[in-house]
């Protein structure tokens, strides 16, 4: 049986999540990032030249990974099944809930690194720039689906509530507490 690390999705959820690898997640995420770049160009100014770097993001508890080039309105996200040998400027690996926590600012990147909840390799400067840009972006789940107004608030409330529950359920770090 696969080893289960603290904060990783339990086996049953991993199996349930597996079909997501077949969905057209890449084009949907590409669209979401480009839409976001239209709405908040300052986030991508903060990223500067690093927007052209490629970031391979590997949820350690799922069998697919994302390759992202966050180049503003020209951004690209590819979703790939299995572990890939695709070259990237930066590789980040962590349980899915930790990655989502870093994305919405619930979790502190340095604390996750000190506690070894994430592992990184490649161009550290590009990773630092991306993390700072994300930190300032104040991303919410609604940003990913392009929902605004009342619908946006509903999406945010449900997803954030759901993630909080999932973190407690899996024992994922909730703030920076040591793992």
């Amino acid at each position: 049986m696969a080893e289960h690390f603290r904060g990783e999705l339990p086996r049953l959820l991993r199996i349930l999540a597996a079909p997501a690898g077949f969905l057209p997640l890449g084009p949907a995420l590409t669209l979401a990032v480009r839409r976001f770049a239209h709405r908040k160009p300052a986030v991508f100014d903060r990223l500067g030249e690093y927007g052209k770097c490629s970031f391979l993001i590997e949820p350690s508890d799922l069998d697919f990974s994302f390759l992202m080039v966050p180049d503003g309105v020209r951004a690209e996200v590819k979703c790939m099944r299995g572990r890939t040998s695709q070259p990237a400027d930066v590789t980040v690996r962590a349980p899915l809930l930790v990655l989502l926590g870093l994305l919405d600012g619930t979790l502190d990147g340095d604390a996750m690194f000190f506690n070894r909840a994430i592992s990184v390799s490649g161009r550290t400067d590009a990773l630092v720039a991306l993390r700072n840009a994300i930190e300032d972006a104040e991303l919410t789940p609604a940003d990913f689906v392009g929902a605004t107004g009342g619908l946006g608030k509903l999406v945010d409330r449900s997803v954030i509530g759901g993630l909080g529950l999932a973190r407690r359920f899996t024992g994922s770090p909730i703030s920076g507490e040591p793992s």
Binding site: D45, R46, L47, G48, Y50, G105, T106, L107, D108, G109, D110, A111, F113, F114, N115, R116, S119, V120, S121, G122, R123, T124, D125, A126, L127, V128, A129, L130, R131, N132, A133, E135, D136, A137, E138, P173, S175, G176, E177, P178
Partner: protein, 329 residues
């Protein structure tokens, strides 16, 4: 008078988080080599600074702008522009270290309140009197090599305010005088605003764990599950005399929360939290915790327990009261 809590903000959203979590003051810098946290993607554009000051003032908080690196000889334009932009934004003070920048500020921006950065390493009544008399400096940030008793003695001999670090990453060397990063990478906090610039840092994983390299030098190796620290040379592990150890300092973080009452008694005006490179999660949690601690001391408590609450946020997972208690040296 209660202690002023001075909190870090590397981005506009961290500034808002700090203010909302109870910061009395926030310190931040521009997005260039004029401030000592010049990391990619961090810091403020001049317009963001204007907006940040507006937000802080609307919530009753102050903004202190760090322009605390040493200007390059014959190329001071960036530092001059930073001073002008800080004044335009309505900053409540600027935090400076370099004599030329202090002189320019005192001469051309007489309305700006001047604070002396920890990078200036002014630790004697004579040095502090020089900065106060020559440039009108109103507050000095204490180097983290002094004990509380030494700060109390110093406060009795000077008539400017003092600010002391209470929490966060720790430089074990005297600030402004450490050349380890320049030696290994050609870049340093003093001149370029970064210690161990990220473009020189690389992590690689193998079956023995993670190796940290700085410009090709392996400076540490962490086993799986072992707590990690920042990739600075002062916290690296090296082999000397046949054994491998942290030669300069363990990867520990400063936490002087247990000394807040002693700081107040020693005549310190403000307590500073380190961490402009940290995210909103850290800022919110640390500021909220310390604001509660400062308020508790104000209300008459003698000691507060902050260590346990913040244990997971600190470098290496361990905390120290640093030089404030003599035993550290």
């Amino acid at each position: 008078m209660s202690l002023e809590l001075v909190c870090p903000a590397g981005t506009p959203s961290a500034l808002r988080a700090a203010v909302e979590a109870g910061a009395h003051s926030v310190y931040c810098g521009f997005r260039d080599e004029t401030n000592a946290r010049n990391f990619p993607g961090l810091n403020f554009s001049p317009d963001e600074m204007i907006e940040g000051v507006r937000f802080a003032h609307a919530h009753g908080a102050k903004v202190l702008v760090a322009i605390n690196t040493f200007a390059k000889a014959g190329a001071m334009d960036a530092w001059k522009a930073a001073l002008a932009n800080a004044e335009k934004a309505g900053a409540d003070a600027v935090i400076l270290a370099d004599l030329a920048v202090l002189d320019h500020a005192a001469t051309h921006h007489p309305n700006l309140r001047l604070h002396l950065s920890v990078q200036a390493a002014a630790a004697t009544p004579e040095a502090i009197a020089f900065y106060a008399d020559t440039f009108g400096v109103k507050r000095v940030v204490m180097p983290r090599v002094l004990s509380v008793e030494e700060i109390a003695k110093l406060n009795a001999a000077i008539d400017v305010e003092t600010e002391a670090f209470v929490f966060g990453g720790l430089c074990p060397m005297t600030e402004g005088r450490c050349s380890l990063s320049s030696y290994a990478t050609g870049k340093s906090p003093n001149l370029t605003g970064v210690c161990s610039p990220p473009e020189h840092v690389a992590y690689s994983e193998d079956k023995n764990g993670t190796a940290t390299r700085l410009n090709g030098f392996t400076i540490d190796r962490f086993g799986a599950g072992e707590q990690a620290g920042y990739p600075t040379l002062c916290k690296g592990r090296f082999m000397a005399g046949g054994k491998t150890s942290y030669l300069f300092e363990d990867p520990v973080s400063l936490n002087a929360a247990s000394l807040i009452a002693a700081f107040a008694k020693a005549g310190i005006t403000a307590l500073k939290i380190e961490g402009r490179q940290r995210g909103k999660g850290y800022v919110t949690e640390v500021v909220r915790t310390f604001r509660a601690a400062v308020d508790a001391i104000d209300a008459g408590s003698t000691e507060v327990e902050v260590g346990r609450l913040l244990a997971g946020l600190v470098e290496g997972g361990r905390q120290t009261s640093g030089a404030y208690k003599k035993a550290w040296r």
